[in-house]
Symmetry: C2
Amino acid sequence: MTTPRLKNSTTDAIGKIRALLGERLSTAAAVREQHGKDQTWNEGASPDAVAFVRDTGEVAAIVTICAEHQVPVIPFGTGTSLEGHFTAPYGGISIDVSGMNAILEVNAEDLDCRVEAGVTRKALNTALRDQGLFFPIDPGADASLGGMAATRASGTNAVRYGTMKDNVLGLTVVMPNGEVIRTGTRARKSSAGYDLTRLMVGSEGTLGVITEVQLKLQGIPESIAAGVCAFPSVEDCCRTTIETIQMGIPVARIELVDAEHIKAINAYSKLALAVTPTLFVEFHGTEAWTKEQSERFGEIAASHGGGPFDWATREEDRTRLWQARHDAFWATKNIKAGKAEAFATDVCVPISRLAECVEETRRDLEANDIYGPMIGHVGDGNFHVVLFADVNDAGEVKRVKAAYDRMINRALAMGGTCTGEHGIGAGKRAYLAREHGPALAVMQAIKRALDPLNIMNPGKNAAI
Amino acid sequence: MTTPRLKNSTTDAIGKIRALLGERLSTAAAVREQHGKDQTWNEGASPDAVAFVRDTGEVAAIVTICAEHQVPVIPFGTGTSLEGHFTAPYGGISIDVSGMNAILEVNAEDLDCRVEAGVTRKALNTALRDQGLFFPIDPGADASLGGMAATRASGTNAVRYGTMKDNVLGLTVVMPNGEVIRTGTRARKSSAGYDLTRLMVGSEGTLGVITEVQLKLQGIPESIAAGVCAFPSVEDCCRTTIETIQMGIPVARIELVDAEHIKAINAYSKLALAVTPTLFVEFHGTEAWTKEQSERFGEIAASHGGGPFDWATREEDRTRLWQARHDAFWATKNIKAGKAEAFATDVCVPISRLAECVEETRRDLEANDIYGPMIGHVGDGNFHVVLFADVNDAGEVKRVKAAYDRMINRALAMGGTCTGEHGIGAGKRAYLAREHGPALAVMQAIKRALDPLNIMNPGKNAAI
């Protein structure tokens, strides 16, 4: 199934959308380009126009026009995707929801809120702080909550608070025929009907455009304890993590940073951490309880050669630590500045296989002379590699891509997934069939049923 | 769309299935009846035959035969559904998976396991105990894990551990065309493709037959503190719960039992609880941490007139307490023994509206002279009413059904759902459209795409 296109369809659709949006529809080359290329090695492709929308009604009107003219629709949030989710290989209309940035309701007693899709996670947390609430999902970038829902994002807090699939209560979605549906309710749980919320979460704009998101919130913990702990090996980091989780210690964050990454972080964030595999950890709770968690974790760590533990008790030290962790990608880019492009990717495996997967990947990269620092949401078995390649060196690019392919196959062979949190987008489509086998045909049947014209983000995820 | 039936189709299908299963295909009236009627007021309807299957391959073969002859397929686990999920209004073949009761793997380091669909939750927990692990989801009945996945079940632990949607990592499913798919992986999280796992969880056998379930497990807590606390009113119970959750106290169970239910429990389980709205609570953690949680909870409860707190420190006292809670349904049935039938139902609302919803429902029942004790998973905003009616008194049945209808509309008007955990089945289909509006058509489009012949559990959930 290729995307059907009618003669003059795009011009006609753009004319009609311009009549609705006026200046808020742009066909400027720079705007189109910015909406067609991410920061990865995934090929860019500009949409024919970018619609800066203000509300669900406008999105519905645009999708209706696009359906009539069989023109592709590509949702766009903040453009921080790492897998080419918003490129437009078949052209079409990019729907930029960044102007839909209203926090519609905050229900403190129910620990939930409703936001427009363009609200970013940091904007939401700033707005919530005074009420003692926060939203825990934190991909590195300050992504939009609509985009985070669409890509099933997670981050450092997922080990305790889950991913977007666990934190979205419901959605407003413009379907491929222009109809607006609302999934979920404000109830914390429901057994009423098919779980359309979670079908849409992670569908990457291929089943509809998310315009509003109902989210679970958390109370800001009374006490937060964070710190770093150096280990002799990745294996020791992983064993410590497994025991921590088995003991039921509700660690809020537990991040593995490999020695290469520590070097980069030290240089970029002006820290002086020991250059060895390190766990960044954080505990949430009451003062007594975080103290107990920290002590127990310290004992487990020590039994695996970890320590001493370096605690960041003051909020500013904690912030600096986690900022350094969040800046890890930029830190590695900085190391290779001008000499190579950085390509971030991720896989996720059962935690019992994590050390083996990381170590085999490390050996593979070394054997092939590839610079590829690793960082892991180790509590989830999820790890990231930033692969560097000189894009003008075809041989190096080929070598890096081959190592990347082996890494994914390694994860799949260990019972894992080709992506823990970055998504499929345009970049990992080849791996969907390998991971899901005949289940991919079921995904495609759903796609065809809901979007028979294949106008919603064609060429991404399970969309052909 | 009505279920298509071909001439002689059922006889032909039964013949072919008998050739496969021999004695394990039963057409005995008693067996068919037992597989066609639950313990509720939902009308029963017997299947044409019951297939006692041994493995996924047999299920696939049967579904293939049924597809060829356009004969309905109805999955059956333990028959403990409360919404007529397994009745056979269009006849067909009941696939009884209770013989598929093998625990296929337990991965202690990864806190996961894989079981055949017929394994019950109690059987799994018995098998896990020696490894210090448990599976937390506990609907009242000792249901099969396949059935629990199919109905998106939950129970008293959901406030801390989530529902089946949060605890199923993946499934093996026989699709309506007989194809076998595996959804999910052993990774804790994934962003790869559409979330078929959660589409199947809660689809109530209308999209396929679940034959294997991969589950998340938990470590058995070091320390468990449980107790009961009496309150002046339901409102006070709810306010205490809201504050407990807002404070971030990770209560493992928090159950509201109304005065009527306490009366019934006292009689049935030989307890001497004060006859007033009561919270049953439980905390999991280390000894120091459960102590701190209990104390903090005690302070919140006291500020709302609750207490004194009656702690069950010994394991046998705790077991007795929770057994009494789990037996609440039987306790109320006992009160009205022989005089009326009991019909259990549930709704779920935002927790801030729970007191109001419970109180309005209470007044409505009193005004209409209906005996209907209530019990609530109050941390989730989910509550159950056991409605009693003399089925030979048409006027009373009508009055009870009208009150039931008002209760559901009340929950929906408060932003809630028509069922928190019992499901739609045959009984609540009328409410799906009311709750979901145009989203129901999306569910039906998915159903048509995956099961164009409408053979999978027709007449249930979103299946026409």
